[in-house]
């Protein structure tokens, strides 16, 4: 018997006028879990996050956080949440430290307590030396780390991250992932949205794949890959505009294949073997690459589209 879930959603819906952003989804998040919503832009991830964050009333279904109903206990629930919004909402004019302390005051921490936690959290996100500097000149990665520090000021039971690393350079992303991973190890429950499959693979114990407001698959990253993709993928690049002519080489050398605008993907247990077969049949790709399959392949399989266009 699993413990009572931190988040429990059944048939959860969000409607904006005629537009259905979230179309009846079911999921549970257990304490200590890192749970992800993976999907392209417009899949309904952010709407779901805002409902979980109790800043958007649900249009249908049920939603409970810590066993409480957001419609009646929004304030009590928000008291226990940390939120990292998709767009930074730091006050650019104020210092890093002021941002944290003022935010702490919104949770009714005493000034002294807010200050004490701000020092600790800035150390955690490795920005102690920037405590007194204004937010505005900081890099995107640093601002995100300030936002993460800010979201932890109330020692939340649940941390919500909406596309935490979108728009950051690879180095900044890795620093952020490292910090989030540490939080996870400390037992903080993480719920995040992303359209990066590597982010989902790095951080999530369990995730749901969303498309057009629905959940199309659920499981651990490994399970999803095992269920919906082969062990390896062979990527064949042919001269521009000749993919259709070369599709025949992809037939029968793996379990299945996908023709993308810029390349042909062949799903096979053994990518090298598949490549040898294609070359044997006379294929002349400009380049060929064998790699392990990823959540991107899962998404492609489930929706026929790539995650990031």
């Amino acid at each position: 018997m699993s413990p009572e879930p931190l988040i429990h959603a059944t048939g959860l819906r969000k409607q904006f006028g005629d537009f259905t952003a979230v179309d009846g989804i079911d999921f549970n998040v257990q304490p200590g879990e890192a749970f992800g919503f993976l999907g392209p832009n417009g899949a309904g991830k952010s709407s779901t996050m805002r409902m979980i964050g109790c800043t958007s009333p649900i249009s249908g279904g049920t939603l409970r956080l810590f066993g409480l109903d957001p419609a009646t206990h929004g304030r009590d629930i928000r008291r226990r949440l940390g939120v990292v919004p998709q767009l930074d909402s730091l006050d650019q004019e104020l210092t890093v430290e002021e941002n944290l302390i003022i935010y702490g005051r919104y949770f009714d921490l005493s000034r002294a307590e807010a200050r004490r936690r701000a020092v600790e959290l800035l150390d955690f996100v490795q920005l102690t030396d920037r405590a007194k500097s204004r937010v505005e000149p900081l890099s995107g990665g640093m601002k995100r780390r300030v936002t993460i520090a800010r979201s932890l000021i109330n020692e939340p039971d649940l941390l919500l991250l909406d596309e935490p690393t979108t728009g950051l350079d690879p180095q900044a992303r890795h620093i952020l992932w490292d910090r989030l991973y540490r939080l996870k190890q400390q037992g903080v429950t993480l719920v995040l949205t992303t359209h990066y499959m590597d982010e989902a693979e790095q951080l999530c114990d369990r995730l749901v794949v969303m498309d057009a407001g629905r959940i199309v698959a659920e499981g651990s990253p490994r399970q999803l890959i095992e269920q919906h993709a082969t062990r390896e993928v062979l990527e064949l690049r042919f001269p521009a505009g000749t993919n259709a002519d070369n599709e025949a080489y992809a037939l029968g050398i793996g379990d299945r294949h996908e023709v993308l605008p810029d390349r042909i993907l062949v799903y096979a247990h053994n990518g090298d073997e598949a490549l040898a077969k294609a070359i044997g049949a006379g294929a002349k790709p400009e380049s060929a690459l064998v790699r392990r399959s990823t959540l991107e392949d899962v998404f492609l399989r489930l929706t026929g589209r790539t995650l990031v266009e």
Binding site: T55, R78, Q92, Y106
Partner: protein
């Protein structure tokens, strides 16, 4: 004993204001000085020479007539401008309201904090005007102290409805228009520079219906010690309070719709 939520939000306003108050205070001193010199003394010299003007102005010199109006108009300007761009900024550019919504704060807290902040800002602005007025012998009076809260009330009667408007906006294009076609005409025709009795009936009634005219009447009678019946005073105060309250309730409603959609 914890601090009420709106006061905790004000700590944010104060932190931001601490960075800009010097320059904003300088202009709030300079402007009334220039106005009182130009209108009060310059134009006043002409007006006072005109026999009968004293009667129309209620038995006072022109500077004594025009200066108290400046208390109300200044508060109106500050209340209006500080409720348009800054509210929009906190909604769309800086997203501070979004940040607040993710905490235990409610729309009512955000709007109450805005009201308190507007009282503070209009209070500072009106007190500055009052301090400048005290430099001019004709308008120096203890009544100035009581006129400051009356000016604050006039300011917030504009701040809250305009804040309600600003928080519904997706673009800020209407703000300069509001400034040009609502605030500036009111500044000119709200009874601050001449009695509305000088105007055609229709315009006169438009003037009477605006909060500014009521604020000007209050400030003027308090400063000059001219008599105002209790009923009239209550009427003016009540009218301003209604604008402020209705604006505040609307703003809370729109803030909820906007921030908790």
């Amino acid at each position: 004993m914890s601090t009420p939520a709106p006061l905790r939000i004000l700590e944010w306003n104060v932190a931001v204001y601490r960075r800009v108050w010097r320059s904003s205070l300088l202009t709030s001193f300079l402007q009334p000085i220039l106005y009182l010199l130009a209108m009060g003394l310059g134009v006043g010299a002409l007006v006072n020479r005109n026999t009968g003007s004293g009667h129309i102005l209620g038995g006072v010199s022109y500077i004594a007539f025009v200066a108290p109006g400046l208390l109300a108009t200044t508060a109106m300007m500050v209340g209006a401008i500080e409720s348009l761009w800054p509210v929009y900024d906190a909604l769309k550019w800086g997203r501070q309201y979004e940040a607040m919504s993710a905490t235990p704060l409610e729309p009512g807290d955000i709007v109450a904090a805005h009201a308190l902040w507007m009282l503070f800002r209009t209070g500072i602005a009106a007190a500055t005007v009052a301090a400048v007025m005290a430099l001019f012998p004709d308008v120096r009076s203890l009544g100035l102290i009581a006129a400051v809260p009356a000016a604050m009330l006039s300011g917030i009667a504009f701040a809250m409805p305009l804040g309600a408007w600003a928080i519904t906006r997706d673009r800020e294009m209407s703000f300069p228009l509001i400034q040009r076609f609502v605030i500036v005409p009111l500044f000119l025709f709200g009874g601050a520079f001449f009695p509305l009795s000088q105007l055609p009936l229709l315009i006169r009634y438009i003037g009477y219906s605006t909060p500014l005219w009521h604020g000007v009447q209050l400030c003027r009678s308090l400063t000059n010690g001219t008599s105002l019946s209790a009923l009239a005073a209550l009427g003016h105060i009540g009218y301003l309070v209604i604008w402020a309250l209705a604006g505040g309730l609307l703003m809370r409603r729109f803030a909820k719709r906007r921030l908790f959609a």
